[in-house]
Symmetry: C2
């Protein structure tokens, strides 16, 4: 073989957001799998579960009783990783032992009163109501001037550490900018300083021209498999408009975000005919720390499954110690997702 072939030869790709590379080994997807097989998660859930701490009218760990809510329901996490009243401290012992106190607010959002649903099974207006809550919660948290970053996310599926199948997400907000966001800030700023446009607007335009990794598109958003995806079916939703955070979204944009969320997660479920697990979350500019014209709102989806409803990609060993690694190409993953129907498999 004389010339390099990106579809079959091992190579690295640069994640332009983090500045870190992923190793792509396309030929390796042929290896057989005799390792761990996951539960395929096909259980039927009731509309209401009397033991679920997220269902309407049920009691939670701290004794609070949930209201009989009809759309979504937000409360402070009963086991918050960050607390509001942590005293300030800054430790530096010989440049070897460096620590700092961190304070924050962690919230939980039930997406629906229905215990048996997930985002792809909800209607677009019902998802739009969730987007509205994300926006209003973001606005409320940003009112605390000491909060510098707000992480909106969802862990879906037991395999992703989700301890309750009732559809819900979380918001963790805190007084420093977390490490992954610092990386994305730095690289977006560098690009903006050099080109005067956001990196992701240039990237989205280039992807729309290539049409190799695009999954969905509407007037306001694009869903695609990024060129540098690490997880097998990793995707990203990017707004066409360069906005720093969710507060900038108009009614139309919120409707279209709901619509693209439904389409993308439906394709995910249809890929392996399973409730497709993932961790997903928005990346947005820091708050209460000035203006960030380089920051471009986007949402990452990190799903663990690789070959089927039960065989996942393990990011272990080499990946933890040295470098993220993937087996199938992002282009193959995009093709697979494009081939999926946008009618949910449970409704066929």
């Amino acid at each position: 073989q004389q010339t390099f072939e990106i579809n079959s030869d091992p190579h690295t790709r640069l994640n332009i957001l983090t500045g870190e590379r992923v190793l792509v080994s396309p030929h390796r997807s042929k290896r057989p799998w005799q390792g761990q097989v996951e539960d395929d998660n096909q259980e039927q859930r009731p509309v209401y579960d009397p033991k679920c701490y997220l269902c309407p009218t049920n009691e939670r760990a701290d004794g609070d009783v949930n209201p009989d809510y009809k759309e979504s329901f937000v409360f402070v996490n009963d086991f918050s990783a960050l607390l509001k009243d942590t005293p300030t401290a800054d430790i530096n012992d010989d440049e070897l032992f460096i620590a700092e106190s961190e304070k924050g607010i962690c919230k939980v959002i039930a997406f629906s009163p229905r215990h048996d649903l997930t985002l792809p099974e909800m209607s677009v207006p019902a998802i739009k109501a969730v987007v509205d809550v994300w926006q209003s919660e973001f606005a409320d948290l940003a009112k605390y001037d000491w909060i510098k970053y707000i992480q909106i996310f969802e862990n879906k599926g037991a395999i992703m550490g989700c301890s309750n199948p009732h559809p819900h997400g979380q918001i963790w907000s805190q007084n420093h900018v977390p490490v992954e966001l610092q990386k994305e800030s730095k690289n977006q700023q560098k690009y903006f300083d050099q080109h005067g446009t956001t990196m992701l607007s240039a990237y989205v335009q280039a992807e729309l021209k290539k049409q190799e990794r695009i999954i969905e598109e509407n007037d306001s958003f694009v869903a695609l498999v990024p060129f540098w995806a690490s997880w097998p079916y990793e995707t990203m939703i990017v707004s066409k408009r360069s906005v720093q955070n969710i507060l900038a979204f108009t009614e139309k944009e919120k409707e279209e975000l709901a619509a693209i969320l439904k389409l993308l997660t439906t394709r995910y479920d249809n890929l392996f005919n399973t409730s497709f697990p993932y961790s997903a979350g928005m990346h947005q500019a820091p708050v209460n720390s000035g203006d960030f014209p380089e920051w471009h709102w986007h949402m990452h989806f990190y799903p663990p499954l690789l070959r089927s409803a039960t065989v996942k990609k393990f990011m272990v060993g080499y990946e933890m110690l040295a470098n993220p690694q993937r087996d199938i190409t992002p282009e193959f993953a995009a093709q697979q997702l494009r081939n999926c129907s946008t009618t949910h498999y449970k409704n066929v």
Copy 2:
């Protein structure tokens, strides 16, 4: 509450090797767990398994037959992520699509002919034989002048993506330095330039004085829970001598590395009375690229278990999108490991 208490208040700690922080939320370890429960992996394995592709005299995927080996056995991975003959290529499309070909050699090392053993169940001389192979394989791979980094590692347990329980490790070597190593290079160099000693020699001395996170110590090595550990029971073995890679180890050091490996992994198994899963691997200076006096050999252990043989820590959602997070403190983890016996539970 007026003053910050590191044992109970949320805070971040700096990983001085990577330059990235971990969020520590000690109070959170009290939350109940209703999420995914793993298989506790208590199966009895035979000494020899006719279907195992690592057992002596068995046939492998590519048709090769394993020799009737008596200690360890090394071969090129039948499904290597990196290949020797990948053509060179360097792609940069508008600073948005950046890729580069990567070539390398991936090897597998069976640690023992016995299908039923793991490192803690092997004798110190048998582990020493594995250390000898790591050293000689490192020397052999470093002879290829295009190889710039050699990653020696082990994935132990199905939960860590290990597809065969026969005790074995891997070596991936390649023509660029992977991202995690670049981070550690940068920070070790910065420290060395400022202080004239390696960062890890200063760190080990400070930890030996504090005696808060030390698990094991002998003349040549220390095993400890690093101040900045991300995984619940993450540990690190560090050589007392500042050496750049495994080639520098004397006979005595290799024996003591074997001894501390046995003690540490035995404590791990005894923690939850299970064959304790982890990904472990050495971090060493790049090869064939000059001298790295700032580089200090060490070995990381990243184990996923948190509360028991079946409940692991999920590094998902917030952790993937924003920042690694842990629930128990590194000091508590060290105390738990120190409380464990060094006699393997299967022999009691």
